[in-house]
């Protein structure tokens, strides 16, 4: 016999784990009931939500809207193929995770972490990336004003300095990864960070909030810039959506 705390409303019920021979943790019970199997435990346990899946977010602009900085072919493949693949594989990994938790297969749970970090990170990062870009007619490339503008001047001296630092760090990143402008909620300052592969910014610090992320995986620029990553980084500032970054900054620093 053990106590089950329903996470939805903290209602406690008694349950027996002899039926399944699995540890009766709230998470595992939730996973079991998520499959809608009615097993007569006889103690009135509540059905809880299934593990949520993610969907591919739409772009706020056409694929060709960012030309000539990033051409339409790249945007289309990047969004429709790469991001969609991360979404699909993340959902698959979550399903397998749910199953593994339900069975109590700890080594499988741990083994899935790589796929979750990679595909989940890919989904998180790209969702931010699409918001970080905007066509010039919608404000892409316009310098940040007000609070974010002042914060950048304080932390880096000027917007130009920030751009130089991000370009340098992005070009120096070996292999695949991302370069970020991050806001540290605890220290209340801005900093430039890089993450390898699809690691989200949070892996560099639990207090870091991404304001701006630039994808420096080769698929983000190769068809247009080939191996000239520095040129891609120099040009992408023409379509960076500072309005979104300002919104996030104002919300987090309030």
């Amino acid at each position: 016999m053990s106590l089950l705390v329903d996470p939805c409303c903290c209602k406690t019920t008694l349950t027996s784990s002899r039926f399944f021979g699995i540890p009766t943790s709230a998470m595992s019970m939730r996973a079991v009931f998520a499959k809608n199997k009615t097993r007569g435990l006889g103690f009135g346990l509540r059905q809880v939500r299934a593990m949520q899946t993610v969907t591919l977010p739409d772009l706020d602009y056409d694929f060709s809207a960012l030309e000539p900085t990033i051409n339409g072919e790249i945007m289309q493949i990047h969004h429709q193929k790469h991001h969609r693949a991360y979404v699909t594989n993340y959902n698959k990994a979550l399903e397998q995770l749910e199953e593994a938790i339900g069975k109590g297969d700890s080594s499988k749970v741990v083994g899935l972490q790589g796929a979750i970090k990679f595909n989940g990170g890919g989904h998180v990062n790209h969702s931010i990336f699409w918001k970080n870009l905007a066509p010039k007619k919608d404000g892409g490339g316009e310098a940040p004003h007000q609070s974010l503008g002042w914060a950048i001047d304080t932390s880096f001296g000027s917007l130009d300095n920030l751009m130089k630092k991000i370009n340098a760090d992005g070009a120096a990143l070996q292999g695949s990864g991302w370069v970020w402008l991050a806001y540290d909620k605890e220290l209340k300052n801005l900093k430039v960070e890089t993450t390898p592969n699809q690691d989200p910014l949070i892996t560099k610090g639990q207090n870091l909030v991404p304001l701006l992320g630039i994808d420096v995986w080769e698929h983000a620029y190769y068809l247009q810039y080939q191996n000239m990553r520095p040129d891609y980084l120099k040009n992408i500032w023409d379509v960076i959506n500072w309005k979104y970054a300002s919104q996030v900054y104002e919300k987090e620093s309030a």
Binding site: P196, N197, Q198, L223, Q226
Partner: protein, 263 residues
Amino acid sequence: MSFQHLQISPAVVSYRRVDSPKSPTCRPKYPQVNTVNLHRSWKSTKVVAYYGLTSPPFQLDALEPYMSQKTLEIHWGKQHQSYVDGLNKQIANSPLYGYTLEELVKVSYNNGNPFPEFNNAAQLWNHDFFWESLQPNGVKMPWGGFLEQIEKDFGSFSNFKENFVAEAMSLFGSGWVWLFLKKTDKKLVVAKTSNAINPLVWGDIPILSLDMWEHAYYQDYKDDKEKYVNTFINNLVSWHSATARMARAEAFVNLGEPKIPVA
């Protein structure tokens, strides 16, 4: 190991010293300076090059339609060249002077805490190795003793191919897939590595490689990694190179007693 069908062309086997000691006596006293007279004036411009760009053993359009000329022009002509230029610039001001490329890769790896020269040196070596692992109009399968070794270590040739493709598809990010001979286990192994890492840093002997960085296939296959890997393993592998490398490797690793039939 049968040598009957072995045809080694000079372009395929390049001499590399393995595990040679770095002693002061075998190091040249002065930097290798190649003086180039660019302007026909009495003043000449010094160009220093410690490592050079080697050509692939085939013409750039020879791998069509599997790997286009445009890809090779960029991959070899620009990407590979940039590793050479980057490394030469670094070596000019570095204490890691006077090594062969293979030694430099091992030394700059520094047991997992690589020096800045590692990325350029390793990628330079990796690409040299990769071009020699490709062959236009190559044979589809290994033969003789090498095939026996693959069957011994993987069960069957198709098992090996499946393993290779699975490793390539499960790589997260940039990297390479290798078929290499593990010295300690004395068997062939397929494994993936990240970024610039190669089996030399583990003390093992690479036999074949496939570049899984996006720049290697994006031009021709876009995001279709699986098609690229299958095309490579079925159409582009140079089994001649692999066999030659295996033959050399046997000088360093004892793969077991020969099977002497019982009378």
